[in-house]
Amino acid sequence: MKNPLTPLKRKRGSRRLYQSRLNREQSPTKMTAIPVISVLAASLVATFPIITSQPFLPPLGLMVLLAWRMMRPGIWPMWAGLPFGLFDDMFNGQPFGSSALIWSLAMIAMEMADSWAIWRDYWQDWLIAGAIIIVSILAGLWFVSLAYTAPGATVLLPQIVISILLFPLVVRLCAKLDSWRLAT
C-alpha cells in the first residue's frame, strides 16, 4: 500500500516502479564491468589526439589499475596485470609485451606489499604507487633501448613527476566510480 504522506521522489521507468525500495542488490554486471572498463579506457587515453614530440602523458592505465587494486585488494586475481597489459600494449607504442610484463610484476609487487604492510595509510599507498610508477616508466625506457635507440632518462623526468602528482586524483576518481558501482 502506498503511503501518501511521504511522496518519495521515484526514478522514472516501470522497472523502478515495482521494485522493492528496501534490501536491494547491486547489478553484478555493473559491479564487475566498471573497474574493468575504467582501466581499459585509461589505456585508450594514449590514442587521443595529444600531439607532442616528447613523452609527458602519465601511464594512466597502470595508475587506474593500481588505484583499484589498493582500494579493493581482492577485486582482481593476481594475474590480472597480464590481460590489461596486453590491451595497453596495442596502443602505447612500446615494444609489444612491455606493459604486460610491467603490469604483471606490479600486481605481484602489490601482493607482496600487502603481505608486508597489512595496515597501511594513505601516504604509504601513495609511496608504494609512486615507486611502482617510477620503476615502470624507467623499465619502459629500458625495453625501448633494447629494441631501438633510446633517449637519455632525463627526458622522462616531467612524465614521472606528473604521474606521481596525478596519482591521488586518479584514486579519487576511482573512489567516485566505486561508489557509483556499488550504488543500488
Partner: protein, 297 residues
C-alpha cells in the same frame, strides 16, 4: 585497510590450492609477457599487425577529437588576425614583391639543376602528388616518438615514405594499415636523417632526443663548426629523404655537434603530405647487399 578474506586460506585445502594456483598463474603470466617482449625486441616488426589494428579501431575517435582540437587552436590566431589587418596587408604586399623575384631565380635554378642532373645521369623517380593527411595522435606515454597518420594503404601510402609538413620534415612512415599509418617522427632517437647545413652544405647526421629536439652530428668530427641559428636541410644521402627539405634550426652547440629544433612541430602541423622515396633503387640495392651479408656502401 584490513586484508581481504580471500587471502586467508585457513585450514581449507581447497582454498590453499586456489591461492597457490593464483600465484602460479600470476608468475606464469609475467613469464609469458617477458617472452612476448623478447620476441618483439628481437623482431620489432613482429606484432605490427596487432598495433596497426589497434590504430585502425581507435582512428575514428581520434579523428573526431582532432577536429575539435584544431578548431580551438585556430580560434586565437583567427581573432588576433583582425586587429592588425591593415599593417599586415602592407607587409604582405612587400613580401610578395620580394618573393616574386626569388621565385624567378628559383625557377632558373631548377632548370639548371635538372640539366646538370641529366648530365650526371641521375634520374629522380618522382611520382607527382603525395597523399595529404593529418597527424591524429602520438605515443605520448612512451619514450618513443610515434604519430598516427590519418590515411593508409588505400590512399597509396607505403611503408618508408618521408612525411613533411608545410614547415619541414616530420618523419617517415613505418607500419601502414588500410586507413592509418604509423609515423616515426624525426625526434625519435631511432630516426637518423642525413642532413647538411644550408649555407655551405656541411654534411651531418641528425638523430632525435625524444624531447622535441634533435642532435646534429657532423660527419667530420674534430671541429665543431655549428653556431646558433644555422639552418639545417636534408641532404638526400642514403636515398630515402629527398634533398633540400627544411629540417631544423640550431639552438646551441653541444660537445658532439649541435642541438637543433625541427621546423615542423607535430603539434602545430595541421596537414602533412607523404613524399615519394627519393631513390628507391639505392635503397633496394642496399637491402640486397645486406641480405648477401656484404657491408652496406
Amino acid at each position: 585497510m584490513a586484508p581481504p578474506s580471500n587471502r586467508r586460506s585457513g585450514f581449507s585445502r581447497k582454498a590453499q590450492y586456489g591461492l597457490f594456483a593464483t600465484y602460479v598463474i600470476a608468475v606464469g603470466g609475467a613469464l609469458l609477457a617477458a617472452l612476448l617482449l623478447i620476441i618483439s625486441i628481437v623482431d620489432p616488426t613482429g606484432f605490427s599487425a596487432l598495433k596497426t589494428s589497434g590504430n585502425e579501431i581507435t582512428a575514428p575517435v581520434a579523428r573526431f577529437f582532432n577536429s575539435i582540437r584544431r578548431s580551438v587552436n585556430d580560434m586565437g590566431g583567427n581573432m588576433s588576425a583582425y586587429f592588425d589587418a591593415a599593417s599586415k596587408n602592407a607587409d604582405l604586399n612587400r613580401e610578395v614583391e620580394a618573393n616574386r623575384q626569388k621565385l624567378n631565380d628559383a625557377a632558373a635554378l631548377k632548370v639548371e639543376n635538372d640539366r646538370l642532373r641529366k648530365l650526371l645521369g641521375l634520374v629522380r623517380e618522382t611520382s607527382e602528388g603525395g597523399v595529404v593527411a593529418r597527424l591524429i595522435s602520438t605515443s605520448a606515454t612512451s619514450s618513443r616518438s610515434l604519430a598516427t597518420l590519418s590515411e593508409g594503404s588505400t590512399k597509396g601510402v607505403i611503408s618508408g615514405q618521408p612525411i613533411r609538413g608545410p614547415e619541414g620534415l616530420v618523419g617517415r612512415t613505418i607500419n601502414v594499415g588500410p586507413t592509418t599509418a604509423s609515423v616515426l617522427l624525426v625526434t625519435d632517437a631511432d630516426n637518423v636523417v642525413p642532413v647538411m647545413r644550408a649555407e655551405d652544405g656541411l654534411p651531418a647526421f641528425s638523430s632525435g632526443l625524444a624531447n622535441g629536439t634533435v642532435v646534429i652530428r657532423p660527419i667530420n668530427l674534430g671541429v665543431n663548426p655549428f653556431k646558433k641559428g644555422d639552418i639545417i636541410v636534408t641532404s638526400g644521402n642514403g636515398g630515402l629523404y629527398p634533398p633540400n627539405v627544411p629540417f631544423a634550426m640550431v639552438l646551441e652547440k653541444s660537445d658532439v655537434g649541435a642541438i637543433a629544433r625541427p621546423f615542423a612541430d607535430p603539434a602545430r602541423t595541421p596537414y602533412v603530405v607523404t613524399m615519394p622515396i627519393f631513390q628507391p633503387k639505392v635503397l633496394e640495392a642496399e637491402a640486397k647487399s645486406e641480405e648477401n651479408g656484404d657491408e652496406a656502401p
